[in-house]
């Protein structure tokens, strides 16, 4: 895949990629933009190479997830060194912008799920992936993805009922 094709693909999946980056960055909009920018540079400069083993979106989402995890580690290290972070302890702009009460309730309870469960549910419900594709994106087996999906769904429904 040449550069022009890659750019075209990235542009086609941009909206979904941003949504996934938001999920991977705990809805921190600024960090999601940083992560996505890093991912685009990685992909276009050939540091992350699409080998065609999975669908382009599945591969791209896996790159976004890994990059976000690296950003999180960096953030954690900076916190250890007592460097103040921009969004620490502040309600994100993203959350303030959510108008729908149902969506806002969902955002409130999502952080209470285990990360894997949250990721599988986001991929399946938000990005309309199959459980198999979600598993590929997260680098886990179909069986594990199914277990996270079922448990996550039950827990999320219970949490929403509580709230």
């Amino acid at each position: 895949m040449d550069r022009a094709e890659l750019e075209q693909q990235l542009q086609a999946f941009h909206a979904g990629s941003f949504g996934w980056a938001l999920a991977c960055c705990d809805r921190d909009r600024e960090e999601a933009e940083d992560v996505l920018q890093t991912v685009y540079v990685k992909v276009l400069d050939g540091k992350a190479r699409f080998e065609g083993r999975a669908a382009f979106r599945t591969w791209l989402f896996a790159v976004i997830r890994r990059t976000a995890a690296a950003h999180r580690r960096m953030r954690w290290l900076r916190r250890l060194r007592f460097i103040p972070q921009n969004g620490d302890g502040v309600v994100s702009v993203e959350q303030e912008l959510i108008r729908s009460e149902r969506a806002a309730a969902l955002l409130r309870v999502l952080p209470r799920l285990a990360r894997r469960q949250r990721e599988v549910l986001e991929l399946v419900f938000y990005h309309d992936m199959t459980i198999e594709q979600a598993g590929q994106t997260l680098g886990i087996s179909l069986g594990s993805a199914r277990v996270h999906y079922e448990r996550g769904k039950k827990r999320l429904a219970a949490l929403l009922e509580e709230s």
């Binding site: 540079v41 400069d45 912008l97 729908s100 429904a157």
Partner: protein, 93 residues
């Protein structure tokens, strides 16, 4: 339960899709052509080769006067050289 969750996530997606930054805004740095770095390295290498080939490698040239001066310096002995000679000089040879 599944339908309700799907509907909630769809609402969240619709809400968030209103604030998605444009692709060009997120990816400006990535628009740098990927061939630029290797091209710069190649251009630098070419420049070094061109400079090295153009720059004349001059061999040192000596005139007969230079050679005579060098010979004179090599054979010159200071006038006080005899002071360094000792009676035992040559005995141990």
């Amino acid at each position: 339960m599944t339908d309700d969750l799907r509907a909630r996530f769809a609402e969240l997606r619709d809400e968030e899709s209103r604030t998605i930054p444009k692709f060009a805004v997120v990816a400006p740095a990535s628009r740098r052509p990927y061939w630029r770095r290797p091209a710069a390295a190649f251009a630098f290498l070419l420049l070094v080769i061109v400079i090295a080939s153009i720059h004349p490698r001059r061999k040192p040239t000596f005139t007969p006067d230079d050679r005579a001066a060098a010979r004179a310096i090599a054979t010159w002995h200071p006038p006080t050289d005899f002071l360094l000679r000792m009676p035992s000089t040559g005995v141990s040879r």
